[in-house]
């Protein structure tokens, strides 16, 4: 192997080194100093982010084409770097709010943060993997870490159950996906996406079968109907910071991997996947939204809404032939990262103050934690897609892409769905603002949580109010994907 190739792996190496170090450090650091380990994790995330920025300059700036290393199994391009940054932002925000969440709930702080970092490494790998083996491996890396994190609160029966369910569902879909990958390999004699694309032409119906089975794995990661049913149960049961992580990190990376696999590996002439994904997108957003309508538990509501958002993002794949599709996907996932993380963080504040996840129990939060409630307004409006928040521009791009690709029906359905979604998002605001509080007194908000909410708020507003830098980045990422 070529040692020089390692420089494209610096962010992954930094995170992995920190993760391994945390495992060791956990044994050495005395119990009352363990919060300090979270600081190490955060520092390594920041360092990895900086390394990603360096990658970009190593590539030769935004406009330069991507680099393929390790015999084409790993691709570093603007698209990958974008998703790496998104993943790092997600993990960093989650680590921030975990600083004050896990102490007192579990003694194994070092392991929590090291598992988070391991999951982060998996996300970074998913964004770049251009080989089926590596893809399977990185998806499984993220999954295994996530199963453990979801079940990490050992004495909480709900967390136990979430861990087991998540594991069983995920392992089964991994089996299906592995089988699908084996078929893709058999059809083309290669596991590298670029080779697969070149040799898939005589596959015929078998290609559909292979892509369909592979979709099961990706669908599980992004909560696409019909691979969505684990979502509400796991989201409700998992520790809330981990739920927040699950709702954005694996989803974004899942989309990155899905986009790369389909756009690079499966030529449209062989498998007309946009049509298939248009149908799945329609079903996913509708099912997610309608089920969210009936939820009173905030975490479950956000789980169903995250299914609906997966449906919106799938519009990008359905409208693939439009030049705005990928741009919409990139923008939406970033916007979704901030607004959804923010919503979960506020849910943490509310749960802290009321000891409940039920929406009616959060009544009057605006009086008990005014700044946090105000932030929730922004998050909810952004999730609904009301300007000038990031969610609005995300929807604008995606719906415009659908219109551009001639999928008027899908755009109309998406619009109708976002009207429906208004109902349950505003329901949360109503409880927060217009209902009198159940108990008096302000809710204490820990410093880490405060920073997390603030970060999400700034992200949601900044991406909405001044999208120009992102637009440039996305434009480049779109042009260079697969080139």
């Amino acid at each position: 192997m070529n040692w020089a190739d390692l420089r494209w792996l610096v962010p992954e190496l930094v995170l992995a080194a920190a993760a391994v170090a945390l495992v060791g450090a956990d044994l050495l650091v005395p119990a009352d100093r363990k919060r300090w380990l979270g600081g190490v994790a955060l520092a390594s995330l920041v360092a990895a982010g900086a390394a990603c920025a360096v990658l970009l300059t190593d590539l030769g700036g935004l406009g330069a084409p991507g680099v393929r290393v390790f015999a084409d199994t790993y691709t570093v391009d603007a698209f990958a770097v974008y998703f790496k940054l998104v993943a790092l932002a997600a993990v960093a925000l989650v680590a921030l709010v975990s600083l004050d969440y896990f102490p007192g709930r579990t003694p194994h702080l070092g392991e929590v943060f090291s598992l988070l970092l391991f999951a982060g490494v998996g996300l970074l790998l998913m964004a770049s993997a251009s080989d089926l083996i590596l893809l399977l491996l990185s998806i499984e890396f993220v999954s295994l870490s996530s199963y453990l994190l979801a079940g990490f609160l050992k004495r909480d029966p709900k967390s136990n159950e979430a861990g087991v369910k998540y594991f069983l569902y995920g392992a089964a879909t991994t089996g299906v996906m592995a089988y699908g990958f084996s078929l893709l390999y058999g059809l083309t004699g290669s596991t590298i996406l670029y080779d697969i694309a070149a040799r898939l032409e005589r596959a015929g119906p078998a290609a559909f079968l292979a892509v369909g089975m592979a979709l099961a794995g990706f669908g599980f990661k992004v909560s696409m109907v019909p691979f969505h049913q684990w979502t509400p149960d796991v989201y409700e049961g998992a520790p809330t910071p981990i739920t927040a992580f699950l709702s954005v990190g694996p989803k974004a990376a899942g989309f990155a991997a899905l986009v790369r696999t389909l756009s690079v590996g499966v030529p449209l002439e062989q498998v007309n996947w946009p049509v298939l994904l248009a149908a799945l997108s329609a079903v996913t957003m509708t099912v997610g939204n309608l089920l969210a309508l009936l939820q009173r538990n905030l975490k479950r509501m956000l789980a169903y809404s995250s299914i609906a958002h997966a449906g919106y993002v799938l519009i990008a794949l359905a409208a693939w032939k439009s030049p705005w599709a990928l741009q919409g996907l990139l923008y939406y996932l970033l916007a979704y990262l901030f607004m959804n993380l923010g919503a979960f963080f506020v849910a943490m504040v509310a749960a802290e103050g009321t000891g409940s996840d039920e929406i009616p129990d959060h009544a009057g939060l605006s009086q008990r934690a005014p700044w946090v409630a105000a932030a929730m307004v922004v998050f909810m409006l952004s999730l609904t897609g009301i300007p000038p928040t990031a969610g609005f521009f995300g929807k604008f791009y995606l719906f415009a892409a659908a219109v551009d690709a001639g999928l008027l029906w899908l755009a109309a359905l998406a619009v109708a769905n976002s009207v429906v979604s208004l109902y349950y998002y505003v329901g949360v605001l109503r409880a927060l603002y217009l209902m009198p509080p159940a108990a008096p007194g302000p809710i204490p908000v820990s410093a880490g949580l405060r920073a997390g909410v603030l970060g999400a708020l700034i992200g949601t507003l900044a991406a909405g109010v001044y999208p120009q830098p992102l637009v440039t980045f996305m434009e480049v990422a779109r042009r260079l994907l697969g080139s």
């Binding site: 192997m1 199994t73 194994h108 870490s145 453990l148 050992k154 119906p205």
Partner: protein, 164 residues
């Protein structure tokens, strides 16, 4: 029928009968023990396919480690056999339908594909290539695998350990 076909048939029978016992046996210990012939049968097939190294690993990890682990957990949680409780759930017919449909679909589609390389005969099998493949293009995959093992072990130990 030549020796290869005979071996294939024997191994296939071993795999299928073992597999059937795994999914169908009421006694969970029997099911777990039936994993052994199944996995050994698969290992035998690997040998038939000239994948001796994979076969060795299969025996080492699957038969040696995973099966034992599973057996261990069954003994720990089910009071030996699990015979006291119902082991099958209520969706057997539906599952039969779905699995049957999937297998039928696989057959219908896969048996019609003209497998093999696009042109010319295949180059001969090259055992040395395995090692080279490990080190050359897939070195990253191997490094990552070791990380995955580390993460899983750390997490599994934390989760499985009894708290005071």
């Amino acid at each position: 029928m030549n020796a290869e076909a005979l071996a294939f048939c024997a191994l296939a029978a071993m795999v299928l009968v073992g597999g059937a016992l795994v999914v169908y046996s009421r006694n969970l210990v029997h099911a777990a023990v039936s994993l052994v012939p199944t996995l050994l049968g698969v290992a035998g097939l690997y040998v038939l396919l000239h994948a001796e190294f994979v076969a060795a690993i299969q025996i080492l990890i699957y038969v040696g480690a995973i099966t034992v682990l599973i057996l261990f957990v069954i003994l720990l949680t089910e009071g030996a056999t699990g015979l006291r409780v119902r082991q099958r759930n209520e969706q057997v017919p539906l599952a039969l339908g779905v699995c049957g449909a999937l297998v039928a679909l696989l057959w219908v589609v896969l048996l019609r594909v003209p497998w093999g390389p696009a042109a010319g005969p295949l180059p001969p099998y090259n055992p040395g290539a395995v090692g080279r493949s490990f080190l050359m293009p897939y070195v990253l995959a191997f490094e990552v695998t070791s990380l995955v093992i580390l993460a899983s072990l750390v997490g599994a130990i934390v989760i499985a350990r009894r708290e005071e």
